[in-house]
């Protein structure tokens, strides 16, 4: 019994020392938590963009057209002047693909084939770069359709593009051949932002 005690005593002392050492080297720690609760409004909107480089919005004038030209730009515009006639900002946080459609409603005797539009790859206003969606047709001049027609389909980045949205710029032109001198013509251009293809 005495021999057993002689062997056990040093072991017990070592074990106690280990326990004490492990306790003193263990990191002290205390935690608290906050729950952050967020409710985010649904946004699906389009508005005209105003900027010194965007010349028009609700009215685009073509005054005193020279009928000898094959294509006429809007008043005050020149080729490659770095500006655009109109621009719209499309905003969505619906998390689903959206489409921008365009169509023309001409007042007779004007016909839709006389009015052209030009659309380039839109801009992601959150990054400053180009948006990652796809144009239905490559950037160029096209005749209008009289029915809403998809001209741009959102990409993965601009499916939810808040807060600043996607900027889409437009230029317009008139093909004056066949238009009568001294007459006034008009047409309504409609932009439609929709989640329906």
């Amino acid at each position: 019994m005495k021999g057993l005690k002689q062997y056990l005593t040093p072991l017990l002392i070592c074990a106690a020392a280990l326990v004490l050492l492990s306790g003193s080297s263990r990191a002290a720690e205390s935690t608290k938590a906050t729950t952050v609760a967020i409710s985010l409004q649904n946004i699906f909107s389009m508005e005209f963009y105003t900027d010194p480089n965007i010349v028009y919005s609700t009215v685009v004038p073509f005054t005193n057209i020279d009928p000898e030209k094959s294509m006429v730009l809007a008043d005050g515009r020149k080729d490659n002047d770095g500006k655009s006639d109109t621009a719209v900002v499309c905003r969505s946080n619906a998390g689903i693909v959206w489409y921008l459609k365009l169509h023309l409603t001409p007042a007779a005797p004007l016909t839709s084939d006389k009015v052209k539009y030009y659309i380039d790859q839109p801009y992601n206003r959150n990054t400053g770069g180009r948006a990652d969606g796809s144009l239905t047709q490559t950037a160029n001049w096209y005749s209008f359709s009289i029915a809403p027609t998809t001209i741009y389909t959102s990409g993965t980045q601009d499916i939810s593009n808040l807060p600043f949205g996607t900027l889409i710029t437009f230029n317009f032109a008139i093909a004056p051949s066949g238009l009568e001198a001294g007459k006034s013509y008009s047409a309504a251009i409609t932009y439609t932002l929709t989640t329906t293809a």
Partner: protein, 196 residues
């Protein structure tokens, strides 16, 4: 009857002695309590004037077309903070305040914090600590998800800071870019630890 009176006197005498002994033990216990370890984090109780929230921070009916979104009722430079955390320690070991998003369904990297230099009570006034904040200078910084990041390391004037502790005030900001409309939650965990 006489004999009974004697017994009563003896009893009074015996009762007095143990009372003296008990008082001495109590004094000894109080001395040990003063020297005990103190290491904890606790919320500053919201008072509306300085600290607005503690366990719940609401962002209600957020307009996501704004790029800078603060919690309900807050405005830029309103002189308040969203939460205050008291970090108390008398271990005489450098301690660290860490923060992380440890749960919820808010997409990653959408919640930011802002931490100014903490303050500590020096016995007569509240003074700024000389510990290290991250980032320095203060700036809105993403709270990482799933891990804790050190945002403050105690300095020489607040490594031991009992009984009042160091007050770290934190503000939150939401970045709505790319988040679909809906309801979200994020659990932000603060950890005070002696482990770097």
């Amino acid at each position: 009857m006489k004999a009974l009176v004697v017994v009563f006197n003896i009893a009074m005498s015996l009762a007095f002695m143990p009372l003296q002994a008990y008082a001495a033990v109590t004094a000894s216990q109080q001395a040990r309590a003063t020297a005990s370890s103190n290491f904890m984090a606790e919320f500053y109780q919201p008072d509306g004037a300085h600290i607005v929230y503690s366990t719940n921070v609401p962002f209600t009916n957020v307009d996501p077309t704004q790029s800078f979104i603060l919690p309900d009722g807050r405005a830029v430079n309103d002189g308040k903070s969203d939460v205050g955390i008291y970090c108390k320690s008398n271990l005489n070991l450098t301690w660290y305040l860490k923060i992380g998003v440890t749960g919820g369904n808010l997409p990653d990297n959408k919640l930011k914090y802002y931490l100014s230099q903490p303050t500590v009570w020096d016995g007569s006034a509240s003074i700024t600590t000389n510990g290290a904040i991250t980032p320095d200078p203060p700036d809105w910084t993403v709270i990482p998800k799933g891990m804790s990041t050190t945002i403050y390391q105690s300095g020489s004037n607040d490594t031991v800071n009992t009984p009042f502790g160091t007050l770290a005030t934190i503000n939150f900001q939401l970045d709505p870019e790319g988040i679909p409309g809906g309801t979200y939650m994020a659990i932000v965990t603060y950890t005070v630890t002696t482990s770097p």
